[in-house]
Symmetry: C2
């Protein structure tokens, strides 16, 4: 718990919120702390060109591959202390526990900290894991800018990562031997209300929803809020209001509780009470556990934007910023998690992840699954994000036992799983 508290002090907002955008001063500090904790846990630390950081525990069987676990250390603006941090701090703790208990793994084990899972700075998620798994389109490192107009490339260079081009970042981050990854497991808070509502301790994640981001901008001629009669207006804020309600309607219309759509960002200009707006830019997050169903909501959103713009004589632009597939988890890894949960007496359930994670990309190249612990009131990306200490500890226990099963005891060491 003190580690989570300490990590949360590396933040650009006051507690209980945590704001730690990738490559900010606070993120650079947090990275140093996490590398330090990896070393204290006896791990050998290496860092790739994008800042993905690996703490390695060499197994006895050098040809048997590597079991990986990890998550991200960056946060959204005004996020909480556990989103991402649990999987990094907890991953190191799980490995440390296994070492202290005298466990000797056959396969090597690595605790990972991925660079920028959150899209909060560069409007695109999972840059680090996309880079490692070959999903990264290099140009996004140049073309996606933060609110100050800085690209990932520039921001990474500014904090000491030295690749000179977006292509060089992508080439060097790509895992050279993905077949060596025996399994990947990510421990994370649920970020939703299901575990708490059903009185479960552990979620065993068998699929990760297909996320997408749609950006719509409506424009109008603006004008003075007093001077411009209603009949002369083509107010983009009213077009955006209509669209927001149509998107809600489209998400509800699938009838599936897995369909979610959120108008998360609303940027109105000039945004002063006595001026008719000239533009409203909306970022719309649309996800589903079923890609076709999600794509249906995307289509309704784009069609509605066009129809509303025409009706209100507004200009509009539409852009599908990203859309990723559904990630399916691996049955062997799921079984290991199930065994681990049973071993500690945890009430568990199979579930899907509504949030995306670095696991969504790792699952495309390696046997992957996730372990969820409950989020109080389902809250995350929120200063009130909370998970009870005993739930955090139970998650780390389950992760440790899962890693032990997946890595296997060394045949040359005098230890076996029952000691745990």
């Amino acid at each position: 718990m003190s580690q989570f508290d300490y990590l949360a002090t590396h933040s650009d907002c006051s507690r209980p919120g945590v704001t730690r955008l990738v490559f900010s001063e606070r993120d650079v500090e947090a990275r140093a702390v996490l590398k330090d904790w990896m070393r204290q846990a006896g791990l050998t630390v290496r860092e790739d060109v994008m800042g993905n950081t690996f703490g390695r525990w060499e197994g006895s069987d050098s040809g048997a591959g590597t079991v990986m676990t990890g998550s991200h250390s960056d946060t959204v603006v005004l996020g909480g202390p556990y989103d991402g941090a649990l999987g990094v701090v907890g991953g190191i703790a799980a490995v440390n526990t296994l070492r202290k208990l005298g466990f000797k793994p056959a396969k090597s084990i690595e605790a990972i900290m991925f660079t920028t899972e959150e899209a909060s700075r560069f409007s695109i998620p999972c840059l680090g894991s996309q880079g490692m798994t070959g999903f990264l389109e290099p140009e996004v490192l140049d073309t996606f800018k933060d609110e100050n107009g800085t690209s990932f490339l520039e921001a990474a260079n500014a904090v000491g990562f030295s690749a000179k081009t977006a292509q060089e970042y992508a080439d060097k981050a790509l895992l050279k031997n993905p077949g060596d990854i025996a399994a990947f497991v990510e421990l994370h808070i649920e970020q939703g209300p299901a575990l708490e509502a059903e009185g479960k301790d552990i979620g065993i994640v068998e699929a990760i929803m297909a996320p997408s981001l749609v950006r719509i901008k409506f424009t109008g001629k603006g004008g003075h809020g007093g001077g411009m009669p209603m009949s002369y207006r083509n107010d983009p804020s009213l077009a955006a209001s209509e669209l927001a309600l149509r998107i809600e309607e489209a998400a509800l219309a699938t009838g599936a509780p897995e369909t979610v759509a959120t108008v998360g960002l609303w940027d109105q200009q000039p945004n002063i009470y006595n001026a008719v707006p000239r533009s409203v830019l909306l970022d719309i997050d649309i996800r589903d556990s079923d890609k076709a169903r999600r794509d249906g909501v995307i289509k309704k959103t784009l069609d509605a934007a066009e129809e509303i713009a025409e009706k209100r004589k507004c200009g509009h632009t539409k852009e599908l910023k990203f859309e990723y597939p559904v990630a399916n988890c691996d049955e062997k890894v799921l079984t290991a998690i199930q065994n681990a949960a049973d071993l500690v007496g945890a009430k568990s359930k199979r579930m899907i992840s509504r949030a995306y994670h670095d696991s969504a990309f790792m699952a495309q190249i390696a046997p992957t699954a996730m372990i969820f612990v409950p989020s109080k009131n389902g809250l995350s990306h929120h200063p009130d994000e909370h998970t009870a200490p005993e739930d955090l500890a139970r998650g780390v226990q389950v992760l440790a036992l899962t890693l032990a099963q997946l890595a296997g005891p060394s045949s040359v060491a005098a230890s076996d799983k029952s000691e745990l």
Copy 2:
């Protein structure tokens, strides 16, 4: 024209926009320039405790009172070069023209620059003219803050205005002898499309709409945009979208083209695509030439906010930030403007002002009217705000001739109106 261009260089944004918030560095520079121009026009400059600035031309008849003209030099964020500036620069130019032509006024004439007509910094308009006319509630100088949490009192002190309390500002700004004001005339761009649409050169403003500002904040529990199912949400952005459409409906429902309502400010938090919003604050500008009709739209807005919040299980707060009366103009001043317009062969029309102005407060204590010139496409509070040079010049001519009639020729000087 070069004066407007030069004034517009004192701006915190790039041209063609102008951003000059009250007591910013740029505003302090602009004030120095305007005082300089007043002195160059032969006027005696004085400044009151709030920064209202007066350039006085002493008339021959010291007991006959003073004819005043003026407007404001501050702008909205991303405004244009003429809103306010025309009435200050044009007021000085009109007086200067009369002097150069050898006119000797019986009554004294003053060119005024009012402090912060725009509400862009402190969310409340016309602080200077409210102070002069006794409408100012002193506490607003303390309680209304800019986006950095600075009050008018603090900002004024920081640029050298020395009153120690809000009450002292209000007491000292109050005109001690309002009965001395024989007339007030304000030259301004229309900020609406009527003159251009009807092919008129000059608007003779017989009333100023009753403005009001309603602030509504919706709140919800927020959450992760992927993790939080639609059925668990109480999204304040969707409540705000419904309200925006209901406000439009209420404004259109009066059937009067004078009714306008604008959701100008939309502040959504945390405002990131993958977080369900936790709060949306709306600033809503509602005006009408008929106070009762306006108050009806305010009531519908407040009632709809309550109904929507209840339906969507959102929290909400409602606040009527300000509401001012309709200002009626003075027939004697209107006639003087009409005569002046006829004299220069301008096509004029009587009209109401949809925007409010310092004149709205001056009209409460002195015979007042306004002169409008056309706004291209009706645009104002906008970088594309434009008025043709010949329309600006015609406005200044009409103002000069109006002032000459209202001040009257000196009985001791050898000049008369026909020389103009």
